[in-house]
């Protein structure tokens, strides 16, 4: 077997340099656009933080309505600082305007909620 030569019977036709260049350009452009879209989608999608803050504010509002202790205060809940502002609504002692604002760790406002509730102490 020594000295015998291997014969390649099949031939692979090479692409032209022009074809390769166009293909490379095209795939770079397509990948580029795809990455831009993906980044945009990631950035513009709603943050889980905001959704969570909204849910916490709704729960806090329910607690304020159920309790008889309606005072302005600041409380922490689940990585958020919630500012609870209470004031009479349009001078009507029977109504209270409750405004809840959620701030994150960077003191950025994430969500807010406002509702007029009945004053149970009236």
């Amino acid at each position: 077997m020594a000295g015998s030569k291997m014969r390649i019977s099949k031939k692979v036709r090479a692409s032209t340099i022009m074809e390769v260049l166009i293909a490379m350009t095209l795939i770079i452009v397509v990948f580029g656009i795809a990455m831009m879209i993906f980044t945009n989608v990631l950035n513009s999608s709603l943050s889980v933080k905001k959704i969570r803050a909204q849910a916490i504010l709704q729960q806090t509002m329910l607690n304020v309505e159920a309790s008889r202790n309606e005072v302005s205060q600041s409380v922490s809940a689940d990585d958020f600082r919630i500012e609870q502002e209470i004031k009479p609504y349009n001078g009507n002692a029977a109504l209270i305007d409750v405004r809840l604002t959620a701030f994150d760790n960077n003191q950025q406002k994430v969500a807010e909620l406002e509702k007029v509730i009945l004053n149970k102490n009236d």
Binding site: R13, A23, V41, L95, E114
Partner: protein, 422 residues
């Protein structure tokens, strides 16, 4: 021979990536859209419930005409509030909207009971004692004449109830009943005095449903006796007649008002409505009225030359949930009467300026305010005798709400019934 064809493969890959990217964009678009919808909806719900609270806290005369305003003087916080006179109660409508999104609630408003005035029995003091006989039971606080309560032997039957006679506190009653609320009576009087144009016939219809967000639908039958049968009437509908309205058992009434000279309900009727008559309300046997129903005799004019006695009659086996009352502005010799047949069960309140005539096995879960009791057997009419009656203020649901017309109504308004919610 294998083809290299790099461009061909790249185009295929580019197409696949394009499809993936577009599906990602579409999914994100819908997710964002749905979330923003929910966010807007939550905000609208908050504004809507704020409107409900404002209606519950406001004076009765406020928002009688629909008012649209900004809740907090910000963007996207507009509500429209309206309060409608609806017989014994008021109806509140709260509508919150942002651009094309609208949510609304319509509800009836009731009052909690004033525990200081609430009693199972209030019998005015006419210097006569109240006599109990048979299987009579009074549970709850009572306002009774100073002459007190005694037991009596009627039809060879002794008193067989609790030895305490009254299971609850006994207080002295006055010479007159606590008055009905004048402002509500004025509203009734204005309504009955005004002319309400409307359709004079409801024939060839099988159902009429009117939202409380729309103007009230009137049917004014004028001086023609009208038989209401084979029809469903629901919502913001008022039937008015200068004479008699007969309501058949095949009619389904829900939350509507009926004003007439006299009203007759045929046996087996089942519904929920408020009936107001100048002369009489006659309810045949085995009818069921669901809460919150109301029967009222309202006479504001002068009695005629030969006035008949106004009355409300509930036939045997009727079941009534709500308020029964009589009112006469200018008292005639024959005071309006409430007449309860055998086995009638009233869950709510009975307020009778004249008297309350009862038969065997009457049960009132709630309260009775009356000037006198009448009990009639085959031969004899007994005055201020309670025979085989059960009265229990404790049997009434703690969530029961009354109308402000009643003297036992408290100050606090609550939602009695959600009528329409979107």
């Amino acid at each position: 021979m294998l083809k290299a064809s790099a461009l061909y493969i790249v185009i295929i890959i580019a197409l696949v990536i394009a499809v993936l990217c577009s599906s990602l964009i579409v999914a994100t678009y819908f997710y964002r859209g749905e979330y923003q919808k929910k966010f807007r909806y939550d905000k609208l719900q908050n504004n809507l419930n704020s409107g409900v609270n404002i209606l519950l806290a406001g004076a009765d005369t406020s928002y009688n005409t629909g008012t649209t305003f900004s809740l907090y003087h910000n963007e996207a916080d507009s509500v429209t509030l309206k309060k409608i006179f609806w017989g014994m109660y008021n109806i509140g409508t709260s509508v919150a909207f942002v651009q094309k999104d609208t949510v609304y609630k319509t509800f009836s408003i009731g009052y909690n009971l004033d525990s200081g005035k609430w009693a199972a029995l209030y019998l005015i003091d006419e210097d006569r004692p109240l006599s109990l006989s048979g299987k009579t039971s009074i549970i709850g606080d009572t306002y009774i004449p100073k002459a007190g309560i005694t037991t009596a032997y009627v039809d060879n039957k002794a008193y067989q109830g609790d030895k305490r006679l009254v299971i609850g506190a006994r207080k002295s009653s006055d010479k007159t009943l606590p008055p009905l609320l004048q402002s509500r009576l004025d509203q009734f009087q204005r309504f009955m005095r005004n002319y309400h144009p409307g359709d004079s016939s409801i024939s060839r219809k099988d159902s009429v449903v009117q939202s409380f967000l729309l103007p009230t639908k009137y049917f004014n039958f004028k001086k023609a006796v009208q038989n209401i049968a084979n029809i469903q009437l629901s919502g913001n509908i008022i039937l008015v007649s200068d004479t008699t309205i007969i309501i058949d058992t095949t009619a389904h009434l829900k939350n509507i008002l009926v004003f007439a000279k006299s009203i007759k309900i045929k046996s087996g009727f089942n519904g929920n409505c408020q009936l107001f008559a100048k002369d009489s309300i006659n309810i045949d046997s085995n009818c069921r009225f669901a809460y919150p129903s109301c029967l009222g005799i309202l006479r504001f004019g002068q009695p005629g030359l030969a006035p008949g006695q106004e009355y409300i009659h509930l036939g045997n086996g009727c079941n009534f949930d709500g308020i029964i009352f009589t009112y006469e502005k200018n008292m005639s010799a024959l005071k309006p009467m409430v007449d309860l047949g055998k086995r009638v069960k009233v869950t709510g309140q009975v307020y009778s300026l004249g008297g309350l005539r009862t038969k065997d096995s009457v049960e009132v879960d709630g309260s009775v305010f009356t000037s006198q009791f009448l009990y009639q057997d085959s031969f004899t009419l007994f005055q201020n005798y309670l025979i085989n009656i059960t009265m229990s203020s404790k049997a009434l649901s703690p969530y029961y709400l009354t109308g402000d017309l009643c003297p036992v109504a408290g100050q606090k308004k609550k939602v009695l019934q959600w009528l329409e919610v979107k």
